[in-house]
């Protein structure tokens, strides 16, 4: 009897923990919503930033900046990441190379984002003289996202059964034809769902972009890759910590709300896609 009581108590603790986890997520959303919903209206979303009288302006430049970042990072990190993954799984015969690669990549995924920021500053802003710019930020965030995309793509490629490759080759297809017609199409969905989650996280990052191009005081929208830009996370940060207007906190919360909606939509979308893709997969 005593054992049963113990078990019941423990299991109750575990179950509570799990639901507490959900509660925390909901609490975050709720608190954010309460703090920020009052400032959200069409002006807020669509107008340019008015620095002196923030109530008259909006965060459109920050939204646009984040979107630009997202597109740029997706383009670069997916092409580099999927390409590297294809090389590792389909062309590379050397086992040692592959293990070293995978070890390095998995561990780079754990490096703090501020370190990537330092790297971006040293390399892209200074060494390549790109200056603090949208391009430097895109490149910095892309490098940060690369390990995740490579890992997701390698996993997707490795899960394609060997028998597909054999059957394709036996029919007289070349290696490249096999890759492009059978293997990549089968692996792309898995690679995308894993990658989109990584991109969503990159969009929420502040530290790496603080010193490579994000700014707070912009009067026009960025017109070229070499311009400075605004971004939602950085905007939230400055409003929360450095702005003097009494409205700053609620505007910070409003910006944060838009940001979290963006990252959540992307992540949730990817998770749902992953779920349906796994259900549908027939091998």
């Amino acid at each position: 009897m005593k054992n049963n009581l113990r078990e019941t108590i423990y299991f109750l603790i575990f179950k509570t923990s799990a639901f507490l986890g959900i509660f925390i997520l909901l609490l975050v959303l709720l608190l954010l919503f309460i703090s920020g919903y009052s400032v959200i209206d069409w002006t807020f979303l669509a107008s340019g930033w008015q620095h002196r009288d923030i109530a008259r302006g909006g965060i459109f430049p920050a939204i646009l900046g984040s979107i630009y970042l997202g597109i740029g990072v997706t383009l670069i990190s997916f092409s580099l990441g999927v390409g590297t993954a294809v090389f590792l799984t389909e062309y590379n015969k050397n086992n040692l190379t592959r293990r070293i690669f995978q070890l390095t990549i998995r561990n780079l995924a754990g490096v703090p984002s501020v370190v990537y920021g330092l790297f971006g500053l040293a390399v892209f802003v200074n060494f390549f003289s790109l200056g603090t710019s949208l391009l430097a930020a895109i490149l910095t965030l892309s490098i940060m996202t690369l390990p995740w995309i490579i890992t997701a793509s390698v996993e997707a490629l490795e899960s394609v059964p060997q028998k597909f490759r054999e059957s394709s080759l036996a029919l007289g297809a070349s290696h490249w034809q096999t890759i492009s017609k059978i293997i990549l199409p089968a692996a792309i969905p898995g690679s995308i769902t894993g990658g989109v989650i990584a991109i969503a996280r990159a969009l929420g990052e502040t530290a790496p972009i603080i010193f490579v191009g994000a700014t707070f005081y912009l009067s026009n929208l960025p017109s070229s890759l070499f311009d400075k830009f605004m971004a939602l996370p950085y905007h939230t940060f400055i409003l929360a910590t450095q702005h003097s207007s009494p409205l700053a906190t609620s505007y910070a919360a409003g910006t944060a709300l838009v940001l979290i909606l963006l990252t959540f939509l992307l992540s949730l979308g990817a998770i749902i896609l992953r779920y349906y893709y796994r259900k549908k997969k027939d091998w």
Binding site: A18, V111, I197, P233
Partner: protein, 295 residues
């Protein structure tokens, strides 16, 4: 069936993709390695100029001081460690409990819905957590302990614990789930209750994976920047209690990098701090990786 002129075209259409992919992989390697190289080269200079003893054990970090700049990062390291310690104290038991629930107790449908939800916590941008800390948690801490503001290591730790929860939970859950079914069957067949089975059979079997989860959690909390930047108080004085304001290594870099001149010792010393962070997280991840993949 022997080689002919149109075979040249076929040969090209094979080797072109091959070279393209190899070049991509090479580019990636170069980029990733150069992260370390840049950190190393710039940071090493600082070690040389400052001296390792002064750098690591000096308690005074005041590089911008006009007359006597000091370069000791000990209080910064201590700040990082203090935040990490409390965070892990909270998130490890918490995360482990959730993992046990998901892997061993929850019915499949619940598990399928709960897992993604916990995963979503990882998608909360840390600047958002920092903001909520400023708005809600800091005042609570201040009220609770009678402080003027709640910006200290303790408040920051709670939020960092939330940020690291998904990592610890998912790695632990993987470790527990991968304990083979036969193990559990055998234990239950011997008449052990479910809890005893978990406690005495499953958890010990998953031990290395669970340790890996904690290590990855450590890597995550040490590397957290925005939360500590906004909520930990940013005082460079040597902290004496968890209710003191601290400035962990990550926050230091983020604050000072904007004001520093390229090439100066201050610049190099920030890279040196970055190198320290990189090394710590790389080692921790490496060991965790070994633990997860050892068979």
């Amino acid at each position: 069936m022997t080689l002919g002129t149109d075979k040249l075209v076929q040969h090209l259409s094979e080797s072109l993709p091959r070279w393209l992919f190899a070049a991509t992989a090479a580019l990636t390697v170069i980029l990733l390695i150069s992260i370390f190289i840049f950190l190393f080269v710039t940071g090493i200079n600082a070690f040389g100029s400052i001296g390792l003893k002064e750098f690591f054990w000096g308690t005074d970090w005041n590089p911008a001081s006009f007359h006597t700049p000091s370069w000791g990062i000990f209080s910064l390291i201590l700040g990082s460690l203090m935040v990490s310690f409390i965070s892990l104290l909270i998130s490890v038991p918490f995360g482990l409990s959730i993992a046990i629930y998901l892997a061993e107790i929850a019915p499949p449908k619940t598990r399928e819905t709960l897992k993604p939800v916990i995963e979503m916590i990882a998608s909360i941008p840390s600047v958002v957590l920092g903001l909520l800390g400023l708005l809600f948690l800091a005042p609570i801490t201040a009220g609770l302990f009678g402080l003027s503001n709640g910006l200290n290591a303790f408040t920051a730790s709670i939020l960092v614990a939330v940020a690291s929860l998904p990592t610890i939970t998912s790695v632990s859950e993987d470790a527990l789930s991968s304990v083979t079914y036969k193990f559990r069957e055998a234990s239950l067949a011997l008449g052990a209750t479910k809890w005893v089975t978990i406690k005495k059979a499953v958890i010990p079997a998953a031990k290395s994976g669970l340790v890996a989860a904690i290590m990855l959690g450590l890597g995550r909390v040490i590397g957290e920047t925005m939360i500590v930047l906004m909520v930990a108080g940013n005082s460079r004085a040597l902290p004496s209690s968890f209710l003191d304001s601290v400035q962990p290594m990550t926050a230091t870099i983020a604050i000072e990098i904007k004001e520093v001149v390229i090439g100066t010792l201050h610049w190099q010393s920030l890279f040196a701090i970055g190198l320290v962070l990189f090394t710590i997280t790389f080692i921790v991840n490496f060991l965790a990786d070994l633990l997860i993949h050892k068979k």
